[in-house]
């Protein structure tokens, strides 16, 4: 049985782009063949979840029915009423499948994982939860079942993002871009595809496939000899961190480029994150659609809530607590492992410290020049790398699992 995992090998790109040609020709002449787009999307989603992965396909269908009913009924409800507890319930119900999937491995619910689990569940959950919140805000008012399905199941981004927003997405699909605009998008698509090839198939191959397993082995082995620590861990840290970027950024570029070919301006996920000058800057450049999602739907809402209820007097305390909760939630979202949660906490505290420093700097009028800039970039880069070392889970292997 033919099974195609998104962007996994050169063959995939050839098949994908051939399948998209009619759509692209249509867009070039100012027509958007919505039905063709949906058919192609469904075929590729089917090919992702067929064969051995059929149970993931079934889980996806169950999940979609769940979210579809939920968002639809909440929209209907919201037109007439706006009670807080209903909103909270709807949000919780939207997150519920994802929560079950995250708890399942810890609680040893093998049945739950195989019944509800499929690749991409997190990213679909972000989309539907975002919608529920915007429906509450009143910025989404009508439920269009057709658009909902197209938004949720938009093939290029289904498995790993970037996370688009409903209103932005719908604006794109309701019309075809102007020809000049579309040509510009095609130009960018080609550029992103090739940049993605460089990132994912060359750089990430060298880092992740050739170097990482060997360095990991050495790190574990020599840490084992030297009582839990070795310099190889530092080497592993940089290789892992850089690979994380090139692998994921490459993947995101493919998704964005495919979206562009389909005439949809999928948002970018990375903007040179290793040139960030501080941690806040980093989160504006790293996995942007995720961090903006968290900013808009977790952080901001927490801050408003805390200000409205006047839980804390000082604004600084409010934002600090929101930072830490926001990042902790993100840590939990990665998985119920101590190192993911520690990673979240690390960044939460990091953002608090970062804010303190920025206030201090402003107050004392510290020098600001090329040199301090470079220093800031170097420090931020290394802090981020340390956090990725936590995130990688290698410390868990070294410290808590005996090595055979």
């Amino acid at each position: 049985m033919l099974n195609l995992q998104p962007y996994a090998d050169p063959q995939y790109f050839i098949i994908l782009l051939l399948a998209l040609i009619p759509l692209a020709v249509g867009l070039y002449f100012g027509k958007r063949f919505a039905w063709y787009e949906v058919v192609v999307s469904l075929v590729f989603i089917f090919l992702m979840f067929d064969g051995e992965k059929y149970h993931e396909g079934i889980a996806l269908i169950i999940y979609m029915i769940w979210q579809w009913l939920l968002v639809w009924s909440y929209t209907l409800y919201r037109k007439r009423n706006n009670q807080t507890w209903i909103f909270y319930s709807a949000t919780i119900l939207a997150i519920l499948p994802l929560v079950l999937i995250k708890v399942a491995p810890v609680a040893d619910w093998a049945k739950v994982s195989s019944l509800l689990g499929f690749m991409g569940i997190s990213y679909l959950t972000f989309r539907s939860v975002g919608m529920v919140m915007e429906i509450r805000d009143g910025s989404i008012q009508a439920f269009n079942p057709w658009n909902f399905l197209r938004f949720m199941l938009f093939m290029p981004t289904i498995s790993s993002g970037p996370i688009d927003r409903y209103r932005r997405f719908v604006k794109d699909i309701e019309s075809a871009p102007e020809r000049d605009k579309y040509i510009e998008m095609l130009g960018k698509a080609v550029k992103y595809f090739f940049l993605g090839f460089l990132y994912k198939f060359i750089i990430s191959h060298v880092l992740g496939t050739l170097l990482m397993p060997n360095v990991e082995k050495l790190a574990i082995l020599s840490a084992h000899v030297h009582g839990g620590w070795s310099w190889w861990i530092i080497a592993y840290m940089y290789i892992y961190g850089l690979n994380l970027f090139f692998d994921f950024a490459g993947y995101s570029l493919f998704a964005v480029a495919t979206g562009y070919v389909m005439g949809i301006e999928v948002p970018m996920n990375f903007n040179m994150p290793f040139l960030s000058k501080n941690l806040k800057d980093f989160w504006n450049r790293w996995h942007m659609t995720l961090s903006f999602w968290f900013r808009d739907f977790v952080f901001m809402r927490l801050v408003f809530l805390m200000m409205k209820k006047k839980w804390f007097k000082s604004r600084v305390t409010t934002s600090n607590i929101a930072y830490i909760i926001n990042m902790l939630v993100m840590g939990f979202w990665h998985g119920l492992k101590w190192y993911y949660i520690a990673y979240g906490l690390f960044h939460g505290i990091g953002l608090v410290v970062n804010d303190m420093w920025l206030r201090y700097k402003k107050k004392h009028k510290l020098p600001h020049n090329k040199f301090t800039n470079a220093l800031a970039i170097i420090i931020t880069f290394n802090v981020v790398m340390v956090s990725f070392l936590l995130f990688s889970g290698i410390l868990d292997k070294i410290w808590f699992h005996s090595f055979r």
């Binding site: 049985m1 033919l2 099974n3 020809r179 000049d180 040509i183 095609l186 130009g187 080609v190 084992h224 000899v225």
Partner: protein
């Protein structure tokens, strides 16, 4: 007009890139030149690219100046110390030079596939095959297969099949158990055909030719990306220390002198550096850790049979070397010697009953002083003992072979046979 040009500006370079890459892959001429020095380096490089590839091996085995011969084995080959076969052959300008194929984790199945792309080097030629009993584990014996798997070898294997033999069907079954193969629609489909005893169609053959072309080109472009310095760093210095004359007793003296210097921090005769890094940290844990080790029943026996069948098919004159284990060490770790010897007997039965009579069995020599370099690998005097078999083997030159292959060795019955003396005697 301007807009049309816009599209060309975007897609022109892409089309051009595809044309260029196709031309590069399908060009009928070779793209790389391998110097004698490259081959010499590759012969002791243990590079996975070299192991998986074809161009470097074929360049070596058709070299007109040095007669490279394949040495199949596993981790012991990595012990490039003073008495290593590669060092001895180079020092005394013997009529052969080992080309080492194998490293930690290469077992019969990987070797069988590797042989598929070097059949001319095996056909009526000589080879050495070093067997480790550690391959013959009951479970998880194929843990490293994926690291050494190469699609090129699979393509060559498929192309080499003229009529489907029992071995081919066996190998097909084995390969389909590997994820890398079962996940690949193209290979899985063809190999399933072989498994079901259906011959490949003309289209299949043409597709294989095309694949082969691309993979060979890929191999030519990348296989000498092996930045190995083993020759300069390990072989060259070792050459200097050896006695001028190729003489066993002089070599023995030198081996003992070197070994004495490199051991002493442990009572097992294990090389100091190895003991310090690999043994000492978990020394206590290792006591009796091997008491449950048993090499007597394993599917590896049938993989090994596939290798034998390939040698028989190519009429290769092979010297088999059976490695011992460090006796003091195995006593400490509680390895059951009786079971170990039984597994050796099983291998020998399989060899002898099919006419593979060139066997250098060192399984009983693991207790000799300085024979083993560490726990399971031959070292100083072990290599010299091996050399007393290897050197005359090549001096004699190629001998006509007379192998009689018995497909029953591919059966589950043989894999699971308890190798007691009577059982072995009765197995036909």
């Amino acid at each position: 007009m301007l807009k049309k040009r816009g599209l060309w500006w975007i897609f022109g370079p892409v089309v051009l890139a595809f044309v260029m890459i196709t031309a590069l892959f399908l060009a009928p001429f070779s793209l790389n030149y391998l110097s004698n020095k490259d081959i010499q380096k590759a012969s002791v490089s243990f590079s996975k690219n070299v192991f998986k590839g074809e161009s470097m091996k074929m360049a070596a085995f058709s070299d007109s100046k040095t007669k490279y011969v394949p040495f199949f084995g596993s981790s012991e080959l990595l012990r490039l110390d003073a008495m290593h076969p590669s060092v001895l052959a180079a020092k005394y300008k013997r009529n052969y030079q080992p080309f080492l194929l194998g490293q930690a984790g290469t077992e019969s199945l990987s070797h069988y596939l590797g042989m598929q792309e070097m059949t001319p080097a095996l056909h009526k030629k000589q080879a050495v095959f070093i067997v480790s009993q550690q391959w013959f584990t009951k479970r998880d014996s194929k843990w490293a297969f994926s690291q050494f798997y190469s699609p090129l070898q699979t393509v060559n294997w498929l192309r080499n099949i003229k009529t489907i033999s029992a071995t081919d069907r066996f190998i097909a079954t084995r390969l389909l158990e590997q994820k890398q193969i079962s996940d690949n629609t193209f290979y899985a489909r063809l190999i399933t055909k072989i498994k079901n005893n259906q011959s490949l169609s003309g289209t299949d053959q043409n597709l294989l030719i095309l694949r082969n072309r691309m993979l060979v080109r890929e191999d030519q472009l990348f296989s000498n990306f092996a930045f190995s310095n083993n020759w300069n760093k390990q072989v060259e210095p070792a050459l200097k220390g050896l006695p001028k004359k190729d003489n066993v007793s002089l070599l023995e003296q030198e081996a003992i002198r070197v070994a004495k210097k490199q051991t002493g921090n442990n009572k097992f005769g294990i090389k100091n550096s190895f003991f310090k890094t690999r043994v000492k940290p978990s020394f206590k844990k290792l006591e009796n850790s091997q008491s449950h080790f048993d090499y007597r029943q394993s599917d590896e026996y049938s993989d090994f049979q596939a290798v034998l069948q390939e040698f028989a098919k190519e009429h290769t004159d092979v010297l088999f070397i059976i490695q011992p284990v460090n006796k003091k060490w195995s006593k400490y770790t509680g390895l059951n010697t009786k079971k170990y010897y039984q597994s050796v007997n099983k291998v020998k039965k399989q060899l002898k009953s099919q006419g593979f009579n060139n066997i250098a069995d060192f399984s009983h020599d693991g207790g000799h002083k300085y024979f083993m370099q560490d726990t399971i690998h031959m070292g100083w005097r072990g290599w010299i003992a091996a050399d007393t078999k290897i050197k005359p083997f090549f001096e004699h030159g190629y001998q006509e072979t007379n192998y009689k292959i018995n497909d029953n060795y591919l059966s589950k019955k043989w894999q699971n046979l308890m190798p007691t003396d009577t059982n072995l005697k009765n197995f036909k």
